[in-house]
């Protein structure tokens, strides 16, 4: 029966090993704390390894315990991964953002977790180490076992960091959400996009919306509409229509109807794509 603040990743893994499945890792625990906490906890929030934010060779590495507040403030993330900075700035409230972590946002596996949606659009992969010492690298969207259920076993595995290519020249990303209020509200729909252009022509595009499925969901058909296209004003209404038609969404008594959610997916998809596209064009000259 204990709560241990780990001093490094190895020690955290050792505690998990010793506890034989009893102990679980936590970071910010802003969601978990409201449920019944497991009896043995290993807190990863303050580790050096999990709170680093760096770029090497065009690859951004974000420690899993980087808080939403520090990600939203980081000049590196704002310039190289705008979608993630925008998503992190909208989560919960300032108080929650000072505690909640990016890795927690992924491992908590909520279907429309803002940071996770942005990470999937950016193409992020999680670096996960288990108690046997094995490390695997998996796409964030592959880490969902069902609604609010992660494939990550927090009694034997730890997300160390999240990795993705930073937005270089000719690339842009954006995130948007629609919620009943601007703070302290869960989104009815959120969406994020990453676009790469060459001479204003779209060369690569990733569009993600949620909540559509348990995991943040790529909208492949809508992406295909923009592939190898120099978008003119006529394309955006088509994009909205395609995105709204592509998704299978659910309505809920408490939040909004299925039709409304579908409409929101279309509208937000159009807006994030346009924004990401414009940013990509603005960054074409090499300035980001």
């Amino acid at each position: 029966m204990s709560y241990i603040i780990a001093s490094d990743l190895n020690q955290a893994l050792q505690i998990l090993r010793d506890s034989k499945g009893q102990a679980r890792v936590i970071a910010g625990a802003t969601d978990l704390f409201l449920q019944t906490l497991p009896a043995e906890l290993v807190d990863l929030a303050g580790l050096y390894e999990t709170t680093q934010l760096e770029e090497t060779g065009g690859l951004l590495s974000i420690g899993s315990a980087v808080t939403h507040a520090s990600a939203a403030r980081s000049l590196l993330i704002r310039s190289q991964a705008a979608a993630l900075a925008e998503a992190c700035a909208m989560i919960g409230s300032p108080q929650v953002r000072n505690i909640g972590t990016i890795g927690g946002n992924v491992a908590n596996a909520a279907p429309a977790a803002d940071a996770a949606v942005a990470l999937v659009a950016l193409g992020a992969k999680a670096v996960i180490t288990d108690i046997a010492g094995q490390t695997r690298v998996e796409a964030v969207e592959e880490l969902y076992a069902g609604y609010n259920r992660s494939t990550i076993d927090s009694s034997s595995e730890i997300i160390g960091r999240l990795l993705f290519k930073s937005c270089a020249a000719g690339e842009g990303s954006a995130f948007m959400r629609f919620a009943p209020r601007r703070a302290l509200a869960l989104p009815l729909v959120n969406a994020a996009a990453r676009v790469r252009v060459s001479g204003r022509r779209i060369e690569a595009v990733r569009l993600v919306a949620a909540p559509v499925k348990p995991a943040p969901t790529r909208l492949f058909e809508t992406e295909a509409l923009l592939q190898e296209v120099i978008p003119g004003p006529e394309i955006w209404p088509k994009v909205e229509e395609a995105a709204a038609a592509e998704v299978e969404v659910r309505g809920s008594m408490l939040r909004c109807s299925e039709q409304y959610r579908r409409h929101l997916v279309g509208t937000l998809a159009g807006r994030v794509l346009k924004e990401a596209y414009q940013r990509a064009c603005a960054a074409e000259g090499g300035e980001t």
Binding site: S2, F33, G92, P94, Q95, N98, I99, A183, L184
Partner: protein, 162 residues
């Protein structure tokens, strides 16, 4: 969970408590340490009434497991006044009519205090952003915003006179 000993800095003084590690910081402050200035509204991170500073950052004390504060600095509303004089923020809240029932006030003041620590000359938008995690059932927020801006001015004048 069995009790654990936790050492931390509370309002500038080192304290050692023996407490349930997975109890909330809010209950530790109010229940065990008798600091009743920090309020419990929702108890689940939605209202900000329990806002305290953890290593200078505003957080919801109701969402923090007590054991998390080991070795850290916690600052509560009690630290803002010495019993004789009150903080300019508290003064401005009174003068501008930013306190009605007062239940949200300690949390509001702590969020504003955290803002003024890093930004002595905030814009109205920055003030709104800083208190966006604090709900007020009574005021309509306008007077609170005015009070924070007014306090920022007072503090600025005070530092120029020094």
């Amino acid at each position: 969970m069995k009790k654990q000993t936790i050492n931390f800095e509370l309002n500038g003084e080192l304290v050692e408590v023996h407490t349930e590690p997975s109890g909330s910081l809010l209950h530790l402050l109010r229940g065990q340490l008798g600091l009743l200035g920090t309020k419990e509204g929702c108890g689940e991170g939605e209202c900000g009434a329990c806002t305290v500073l953890l290593d200078s950052q505003p957080v919801n004390a109701c969402l923090i497991p007590a054991a998390k504060i080991e070795g850290k600095q916690v600052q509560t509303i009690e630290s803002l006044s010495n019993g004789d004089t009150i903080h300019p923020l508290q003064e401005s809240f009174v003068e501008k009519g930013a306190v009605q029932c007062g239940f949200c006030t300690p949390g509001m003041v702590m969020s504003a205090y955290a803002l003024l620590k890093v930004n002595q000359d905030p814009t109205p938008v920055e003030v709104k952003e800083a208190i966006s995690g604090n709900l007020c059932r009574c005021s309509g927020y306008k007077q609170i915003e005015e009070a924070v801006l007014d306090a920022a001015e007072k503090i600025d004048q005070g530092s120029r006179e020094d």
